[in-house]
Symmetry: C2
Subunit: 174 residues, 2 copies
């Protein structure tokens, strides 16, 4: 028996999801992708994650089909990581888990809030726009600063502080 | 710097949630609690988890306020783990993450489905009952076998196979 090294004997859709997403840092990488981070150096600046761990997690997310690796420069060779349709469907889970953390574990509530771009109304933790009564696709959400100031001051955090459409590539001044 | 040992520098509601829930096995323990598992021996039978890891994860969930430890027998001393209101609010995140796993990572789809007890209609991955157009609280959901047979055959798996109301204590014949 694998003695808890993996969830192979757990014949369960949630266990399958955690095999892809349950490694430390993985969901924070996916969160950053939703906020518009695409480049290795930007993940590195924002996440305080060891380089080898970041590279391994990105590679695993590509192999699992959550991210695509896309070459954007040949000289020097540079890739960016773009979310797939399968990855995009993770948004409701990330959003509701983050809302739970904001409600119960952050003294100051959530640092970011999400507005339905079509009407400007903040969506609830269930991802539904109270004005339009629709579940808002992540591509129709603007991310805005929440109720308190972030304490981080890396280039990616500064770029994220500006209101912007979700999944729009961030421009980060390093 | 903690070099990725924790998420302390990640000033983010999702990072806070993952500090509580991101350890291997933790979300599968919480899933079992929603299905009605409350006792140490039942988690052990169902999860193939090392005893020390199970004890540590249950203790961490109690300390975080997700579970309450309730004495149900004095001789011998025995406790069961009951979800708190804060823990109950995790259901939408678990459900949507599990639905994602079923859609993308399980060849046969989800092993269990959830019906709005009031009308019998299966709820969608967003937790909404298509007939009643309401977000169904987890206490109003019945869990039913999904499209394929589970391969596990421990006492807890057998008890879970019977349709039952979520969060109702399972009776497991060991």
């Amino acid at each position: 028996m694998a003695l808890g090294k993996d969830y192979a004997a757990q014949d369960c859709a949630l266990a399958r999801a955690l095999e892809v997403l349950g490694e430390r840092w993985t969901l924070l990488i996916v969160r950053d992708v939703f906020y518009g981070v695409r480049r290795y150096s930007d993940f590195l600046a924002h996440l305080d994650i060891p380089r080898a761990v970041l590279a391994a997690r990105l590679q695993a997310l590509v192999e699992a089909g959550v991210l695509d690796k896309v070459r954007y420069s040949d000289t020097p060779p540079r890739d960016e990581y773009v979310i797939t349709e399968m990855g995009r469907e993770l948004w409701p889970a990330l959003h509701t888990l983050s809302a739970w953390g904001g409600r119960h574990l952050s003294a100051n509530g959530s640092r970011r809030v999400f507005a339905h771009a079509a009407c400007g109304t903040l969506v609830g933790p269930n991802g539904i726009c109270p004005s339009c009564a629709v579940e808002v696709p992540v591509t129709d959400l603007d991310v805005l600063p929440g109720v308190y100031s972030p304490r981080r001051d890396d280039p990616v955090s500064r770029a994220m502080r500006l209101p912007h459409r979700m999944l729009t590539p961030l421009t980060c001044e390093h």
